[in-house]
Amino acid sequence: MSITFETAKQHQNDPAVLCCLRTKGTIISASDLEDPSIFPDLEESGLLNIPEHGLTIGQVLGATLERDADSMTPLTPELVSHISENQMDELESEKITTSPNTGEDPTHETQVIRFNIDKLVGQIELPPGLNVNALPFATTASKKAEDKVIRTLTQRAYPVDQVCVGAETSFQDKVLTIREALCEESLKADPLVKNVELDIIRPEDRHIYSNTIMDVIPIATKVEGILGEGVTHVMNGVIVVLTGVDEKGIQVHEFGSCEGYLDEKIRFGRPGSPDSEDIMIRVNVTVQENTGMERRGPFAAHKACDSIIQEIRDVLKDAPADASTDQKVFRDWKKSGKPRVILVKEIMGQGAMHDNVLLPSEPAGVIGGRRNVDLGNVPVVLSPNEVRDGGIHALTCIGPATKEVTRHYFREPLVNLMAEDEEINLAGVVFIGSPQVNDEKSYVSARLGALAEALDVEGAIVTTEGFGNNHIDFAGNIEQIGRRGIKVVGVSFCAYQGQLVVGNKYMDAMVELNKDPEGFENEILADSTICPTDAERALIMLKTKMAGVPIEPANRKWSQEVIDANEQLMS
């Protein structure tokens, strides 16, 4: 299929190959050439061999074909004459064309020059006293663009040095005590929960066996206002780790596993995982047999765990403001005059443990939220502050290296980076589920496209956790945004094991999350999830694409060197 002038310009250094039969004497233009993006496949299947001395598209445009040649013929110096070295530059001048003026005043009939200008940025200053009505264009009053704060969230941090089990739940002088009877009482959360145990694991005691990790949950509570605004208290130096098994001893919630020794099965310090100095409160839940791979079993475990955390939240609410050692203030902005963008976070929504609670009453809680599976997996917009205040409780934690746990959303690097960036206006964070049924996948993707259009954004970053069937949604989500002319960047773990199962032409600016040397889901919790460096690559790629600067196509196979080279270019 022939290509357009714009495509030729983009591929001016790629090989020139005829798209169709052309006769001797043809002056070669873009419409005579094949699209270079399909060459790798043609070469792989033996349909095309590009000789070393083949000419580039930039060289052949405007040159003359010296004899008849068939489609798929690579152009060489023997086949064409009048080859140019700087053909594309000359061709730029083709875009300046002349035409008779058909304006209203015939006495001024002359020729005008018409320019095609890709982009015009800046302003024209007019001298004082000028009659603006005489100008051939409308002027607008100069108005200084002002950034507005929409809402503010204050997070007060309370350090925890010691956690113990005792008669009453209390929090004083950096010591958290958890009431012993809480585990027994948490069985009431759901009849499928058969047993709950809790233990405290200090950083030096981590070489300890554990059932598979279902979630990592921060302890935080609202003191003033609702999720995303007001005041939240957060415990630092302590984290809840939920693990589970069924009555028959079979690991629950698994598609991949991080059952094993905690020090070996967690990549400490990732946004979602425990930090190296964190004390872990491990809540191990036993659910009714054979419910570990059904939606109800894992959810029951999360409810039981949340009921334990709630009692801790209640004592954290009473912590005095002056006992807090650190205070962070997060703001949701409306930034005038800066390009509007969205962050799309694709989350799992296939049932079983592939589900999430959106907007619970308490940060990172369960109660009060709605699950995306129940919402039909349609896109739901959260403000950056709502996400940072624990607006997502993840029920998904299988394929442990590539899934985003609750703590991940609490400290999501892309949300923070995009919300704080001075050059863009993050209009919102859109959560969209990955449904179980193929028809529903295209349904929700189409709604995402409509939402992006209605929000009038210029750019979007789409991320997905996991890999496999959700890549259908991932491709669909990117396509629905891209086809509306919105610049889009995709972010996912793919590498070797997760290589894409589907794709489309809008997926031309992609960021790889893999951290495993062999490119596998290595079953180390949170290893290949979004880290700050991935977030930076994604945002710079989006800005680059929005500015019209080309991004080179991907290699055919995953290689770490490409990622390293991109990071090098940014440093």
Partner: protein, 241 residues
């Protein structure tokens, strides 16, 4: 306001294009064909070793005289509620025997296959598992092999094995809950009922639906004449998870 940009950035993830064609035409009527069934949905005998849920390219031979009650699933890529209720929703072994008794097909192959395609290693499935299963099916004189996937990467693994089986001269078809994956991975023939992953062969305990999906799929093996064709089937089931 200008944007900070970097020249020379390269996209980090390859976006695939459909692989080459593989095709074995069917040269006898269904009523004379030996039919096998293979699933990537993690089905095996209760007495066999469970699959490693984080990626496993081994396979289990399932004697076709095994009662449905002797089978189970080990798979974490989809909600197990439906297969726990009725294994035929993924692996319609009872329906196959009924089609043999009815004379709709010649006979059920003596051995059927279960593997767990979730997170599957592409090269292992392409170069080892697929050809190994193909050889056994060839030896048993199988004419048609019907596949189901399970989760997303299961559809990829199922299609890789399907292509290996087609390559030894057996006509194959996949009943796909996620047809875009089967299509992109190069499945020779595809039927697509409106079913969720986890009940790829139809609603649990709905014998009429399971039979119709299987029959329509087998008919398509006769009717499809070119590589990569897909037929949407008019059966819809939504799982109430």
């Amino acid at each position: 306001m200008s944007l900070t940009t970097v020249r020379g950035l390269k996209s980090e993830i390859f976006v695939p294009i459909t692989p080459s064609l593989v095709w074995a035409s069917l040269d006898k009527p269904l009523s004379e064909c030996t039919v096998a069934f293979c699933t990537a949905g993690g089905v095996h005998l209760k007495s066999q070793k469970r699959f490693n849920l984080s990626g496993d390219y081994s396979f289990r031979e399932i004697p076709s005289d095994t009662p449905a009650s002797g089978l189970m699933v080990s798979h974490g890529g989809f909600d197990n509620s439906d297969v726990n209720k009725d294994i035929n929703s993924m692996f319609p072994i009872d329906r196959l025997h009924e089609l043999e008794q009815e004379g709709f097909i010649g006979k059920v192959a003596p051995v059927l296959f279960g593997f767990m395609g979730g997170g599957g290693n592409v090269n292992k499935f392409k170069e080892e598992t697929g050809p190994a299963i193909a050889q056994i099916l060839k030896r048993e004189g199988v004419d048609i092999a019907v596949f189901t996937g399970g989760c997303g990467t299961c559809h990829r693994s199922a299609t890789l094995v399907q292509r290996a089986v087609e390559a030894v001269g057996i006509s194959t078809i996949i009943i796909a809950a996620l047809p875009p994956i089967a299509k992109q991975q190069g499945a020779p023939r595809i039927t697509a009922p409106h079913v969720p992953i986890g009940s790829n062969a139809g609603e649990p305990n709905n014998i009429a639906m399971q039979t119709a999906i299987l029959k329509d799929t087998l008919v398509q093996v006769e009717e499809m004449k070119t590589f990569g064709q897909m037929k949407t089937l008019p059966y819809e089931y939504r799982q109430n998870v």
